[in-house]
Structure formats: C-alpha cells, structure tokens
C-alpha cells in the first residue's frame, strides 16, 4: 500500500459486461487518463454512462477487461481492493449498520493494525474535521442523511489514503444540504492535500468542485479539461448538450474561413465558431442565457410562445417563422404572443458537424 504517489495513470481501461444473447457491451471503453497528485478530478456524465464502473475499476471492486492502471511505476489493477488502500465513499454510504460512528470511522485503522490509542486519536481528529462531535456513539440508523454522509467521508479519509474516490456522494441529500456538503468536500480536499476522484451526474457540482472534468458518454471519454473550458468550449455536440447548450439548430454550411462558419437554413442565417471539422451540414449550439432579446449580430426574429417566470429572469420559448424553437433566458419579460428579435455574438455560437442520424 502506497502512502502517496505523484501520478495515477489509466491506460485504455475497458470493462465489458455480459449482456443478453452472449454479447458483451463495454460499460467503460478505452478510458485513458492521467491524474496528478493533489488534483480534484470529476467524472461527469449522464446516468448509466459508466462513471461508477470507472471508479470501481480504480478501487479494485471490478476487474478490468482490458487496459491497465498504474500508480507511478507500479501496476495496481491486479491488486485486490484491500491492497490498494484507496478511500472510497459509496453512493448509499455503505456504513456498517452494526457499528457505532466511532467504530465505523476507526474500521480502516483497525484493519491496518494500528494501536487503539492511535485509532482513538485519529478518529477524534477526523470527527472534528467533518464536524460530527457528539455523535460518536450513535449507530448509523440514528443519524440523518447528511450526518451519515459525513461518517462515510470520515471513514474514507481517516486512513489517509493517497487517493479518495467518491461515487455521487451528494445525490441522496436535499438541495440545501447538497450545497453545504459540496463546500465541505472541497474544504476537506484542500486541507488533506491529497488526490480526489469524484463521480457525479450534476454539471454544477463538477464545475464548482473539480480542477479537471472528465466528461463520459456511453462509456467513452468525450473531453478532459478544466471546468471553464468544458463550460465554454465543449469538444463535441454531446458534451455541449450535456453542459447546457439547449439550443441545437441544424443548418447548411454556406462558407467557412478563419475558424468561423456562415450557416444558413430557410429564414435563418448564423455566424459561429467552428469546433470540429465540418461537412456540408452543421449543428449550431447556443446556451439559453447567451441569446439576447434585442437587435445585434446574428439576429433572429420570432414570436414568444411561452414564458416561464423564475424570479430574477424568465425562460422564454421563442418560435421563428420557419418553425424553429429557441430557449432563451432573459431578464426582460415580454408577453406571450409578442414579436421579438433575438441576437447572439458569433463567438457564442459553437458549430459542430451535423449528427449523422439527422
């Protein structure tokens, strides 16, 4: 078991599961990733995309079908989980129901054969870190969801693992607690100064926590980049959709030069930034909050079809004469049925090749 490392390398990690009819599907397909010590990495993707599979492969709870995992020079994918020594926080916490909070947290230290005095001291310190003082002698069943969550985190970090793995640790909490715990997790990561790999399907969570985000879809890595880049420059249309580019318009490519493309379709002309090499047809992705109500570049005329008021701003459904529907987030609140002109700066129109099935 390593105390610490400088690099974790996943090389073409693949995990297949037997599916109906003697076939097998790759839940995780050729994942290659290098994690530097101290990083906070988020694995982000929709449910069923293979995030947990990836995490379980790293933890040693699932055997690889192909590829390798190395910690510095040592190959670890052949080791059982108890020999890897990574801390893991499970989605449903997996607290031992028959042990008190104290024994749950001390379990990993006990397994490492530490003396009871050391165990007591370390447990006490970590209980303070996750702010669970006064609950040490309760059983998990007597704790609230947020407290159980803290126990799960404390149990994973008290062994001072070189790598902490978290599988959607906040998904069972209510919205307010989720925000609190998010800040908590970031703080704990900073204070420990260790490496964290964090699985989530929530873009906000990934954006706010991670140093780098790994976007996964259908078992394949789509993009690995810092949050700002994932948010502003999605590598492909799938990532764009997942990151909140809700308007995806399919258009013909009229011309392209200097990384910019002129797109057109009946009744619509758009200029945007080319993100991937284009063919004759393209898809333009625009965030609702980047469409502006008012005149400007890339003007689009339409009629308000629906207004969804949400406090500071409204979500508008605008339909163009050609029948294209656009989602717009706007601080002006026009009436339903009103004619509006929308515009969007070309830099905020991302142009990808059209999807083959369209």
């Amino acid at each position: 078991m390593k105390q610490d490392f400088s690099q974790l390398r996943l090389d073409k990690v693949t995990r297949r599961f037997a599916a109906a009819g003697a076939q097998s599907i790759a839940a995780l397909d050729n994942m290659t990733l290098t994690v530097e010590r101290g990083e906070f990495i988020a694995l982000l993707g929709p449910s069923g995309c293979g995030k947990s599979t990836a995490l379980n492969c790293i933890a040693g709870l699932l055997a690889l079908s192909d590829g390798s995992i190395c910690l510095d020079e040592e190959r670890i994918d052949i080791l059982p989980p108890e020999k890897r020594g990574f801390g893991m926080v499970f989605q449903n916490y997996a607290l031992f129901p028959h042990m008190t909070v104290r024994r749950n947290i001390g379990f990993g230290l006990l397994m490492r054969g530490e003396s009871s005095a050391d165990i007591e001291r370390k447990v006490e310190a970590v209980v303070r870190l996750v702010q669970l003082q006064g609950h040490e002698d309760k059983l998990p069943g007597q704790l609230s969801g947020g407290q159980q969550q803290r126990v799960a985190i404390a149990r994973a970090i008290v062994i001072e693992p070189p790598l902490v793995l978290m599988d959607e640790p906040l998904s069972n909490l209510d919205a307010k607690l989720r925000l609190e715990m998010r800040a908590e997790i970031r703080r704990i990561h900073r204070e420990l100064g260790r490496t964290t790999i964090y699985v989530t399907h929530d873009q906000d969570e990934a954006l706010s926590l991670a140093d780098r985000i790994v976007v996964i879809k259908d078992g394949r890595v789509q993009q690995i980049a810092p949050p700002a880049e994932i948010y502003g420059q999605p590598a492909n249309l799938d990532v764009a959709r997942f990151m909140g580019y809700r308007n995806v318009l399919s258009l013909d490519v009229a011309s392209q030069a200097d990384g910019r493309a002129q797109l057109s379709s009946p009744g619509l002309r758009l200029q945007g930034m080319i993100k991937q090499p284009l063919g004759a047809k393209a898809a333009a992705a625009i965030r609702p909050e980047e469409l502006i109500v008012g005149d400007g570049p890339n003007a689009i005329d339409g009629k308000i079809e629906n207004v969804e008021y949400s406090g500071r701003d409204s979500l508008l459904d605008v339909i163009t004469p050609a029948g294209i529907r656009l989602h717009v987030r706007s601080v002006v609140h026009p009436a339903v049925g009103a004619q509006v002109r929308l515009s969007v700066p070309p830099e905020r129109v991302l142009v990808y090749p059209a999807e083959s099935n369209q």
């Binding site: 499970f90 990993g108 490492r112």
Partner: protein, 290 residues
C-alpha cells in the same frame, strides 16, 4: 422507509379482519389441543395432579430420554448450522452453479424422513454399498455399524435437517447488502475480515433463529429413531416414550405429560438462544439511505 403517518382516528382498521381465519385456525388446531393436553397431563389415572410428572422423573426408562434426545438433537443442529454457514456464504453471490448446488442440497427436503431412512438402510447397512465399497478397496475391513444405533439416527437428522437450515441461512446471507463487504475491502479488510467483521455479526440473529427452528425439529425426531436407531437403547428418544405411553400402555394422561415436558425442554433452549440474541446487534442489514 417511514411508516405511513396517517392512521384512522376512530374505528378499527378493517384489514384487521384478515387475521380472523388464521386466529380461528390457531385456536382450533393449536391452542385448544394444547390446553386439553395440559389439563390431561394433570389428571392422571391414579394419584395426585403431579403424579405423571413424578412418575416420569422416577422411572428409569423415562427420564433419561430427555438426555438421549438432547444428545441427538444438539449435535445434529450444531453440525447442520455449522455446515450451512460456510456453504451458504459461498453461495451468496449469483453464479451459474448456485442454482444447481442449491437444488441438490435441497432435494432431501422433498424425500421425507421415512424414505431417507430406507435409503440409508441399504447404503450404510452392514452389507450396504458403503461397507462393500470400503471392503472392496481394502480401506476398512471391519464391520461398519452406521445403522440401528446412535450414528444412524444422527446421520439421518443431518440429512433431513440440513436443507432447511441451509435455505434459511442462505436467505439471511443474501439479505445482507454486498456493498458493505466491498466498503470493508476498500478499508483494508481481507476476505476473512470481511466475513468476521461484517457478515458474521449481521448474521448472528438469523443464525440463532435457524438454530432454534432446526433444534425444535430435531428434538421431536421419531421415525428415524425407530427405523434407523436402537429404539430400546441409545436412541430411545422422548417421542418414543410418549408414543409407548399413548399407544402401548394406553395412558394418554402420561403421554400428555411427556409431551408437555418435551415442549418445555424445547422452550428452555429456544428462550436461551433467542435471549442470547439480544446481546448482539439487531436491525437493518443495509448501509444507509436506499
């Protein structure tokens, strides 16, 4: 899951009436015969109310039957539980063999004690297959005596009792969330520690229950004690004594007293084992919010 909070303020929950048939049934076939037997045991053919019980504990071929029965039922139950735990533990994961192994282990349940006894007589008897095979290969030359004695009854109790214990313990083990063992593994627990620290403590209440049920079953052994044992000697179990009192001496009152004592011994053991269970954790066997 929280229990539904709304309760009807007034009036009876009508689903309560669903227990009426079961309650009537219990009353007719269990409570009434039991009370009748209890009364009968205190109204002996001669002597005072306790005459039957005094007779039982002063007659040389009656009181030792308790010990004889315990000597059969205890080891049989312990062996069955002891065998069932490791096998069921190995079977806890879904695997292609699980179905087959379970089926094979459970077959004796469908056979019934008499059929098992018949089979054992041909297999384990002095001229049975086992004996002949051992002699053929010169592994063991002496006569093999595994029938018409203590061992015959013990083996038959194990064969007929095991499937039941196995199924019960298997259901307890598969009820324990496997993610707990995985969590333990990430914390450094090797497979043995995973069993010792996680499965074993969570299983104890279930094992105690399985032990009690298996013990009660074994304690009331009758057919195999007669067919495979030495019913006048080492396997003269308590149910044989009751049978003789009822159907050979026609002393139903004494037979009732013996039956009451039999129930009493079972009750003591069961109460003791379930009492021990209190010492251990009892509660949900999953690890957190579902």
């Amino acid at each position: 899951m929280a229990a539904p909070l709304h309760t009807r303020a007034a009036g009876l929950d009508r689903t309560l009436f669903l227990v009426v048939p079961a309650a009537l049934f219990m009353l007719l076939v269990f409570v009434y015969p039991f009370l009748y037997g209890l009364m009968l045991s205190f109204t002996p053919t001669e002597g005072g109310a306790l005459a039957n019980y005094i007779k039982f504990f002063t007659t040389d071929n009656l009181w030792p039957t308790i010990g004889t029965t315990l000597k059969l039922a205890m080891p049989a139950t312990l062996i069955n539980v002891g065998l069932a735990i490791p096998i069921a533990y190995q079977m806890r994961r879904k695997s292609p063999y699980q179905k087959w192994v379970t089926t094979i282990l459970v077959v004796p349940i469908t056979l019934g004690t008499v059929l098992i006894a018949e089979g054992m007589l041909t297999y384990f008897g002095p001229r049975g297959w086992l004996s002949q095979t051992l002699q053929f290969f010169h592994l063991y030359e002496g006569p093999i005596r595994l029938t018409h004695n203590y061992w015959g009854v013990l083996i038959s109790l194990i064969i007929s009792g095991f499937p039941f214990v196995f199924l019960l313990i298997l259901s307890y083990i598969t009820g324990i969330d496997p993610v707990l063992a995985r969590a333990a593994a990430t914390l450094g627990a090797d497979p043995w520690q995973q069993f010792k620290q996680i499965y074993w403590p969570l299983l104890i209440p279930g094992i105690a229950m399985a032990f009690c049920l298996a013990f009660v079953q074994a304690f009331s052994v009758f057919p195999s004690a007669v067919l495979l044992g030495a019913p006048q000697g080492p396997t003269r179990v308590i149910s044989i004594a009751a049978y003789e009192a009822a159907f050979e001496q026609y002393d139903y009152s004494l037979a009732s007293a013996i039956a009451m004592l039999m129930g009493f011994v079972q009750l003591i053991i069961v109460a003791f084992v379930l009492g021990m269970r209190r010492v251990f954790y009892r509660g949900p066997v999953t690890g957190g919010k579902g």
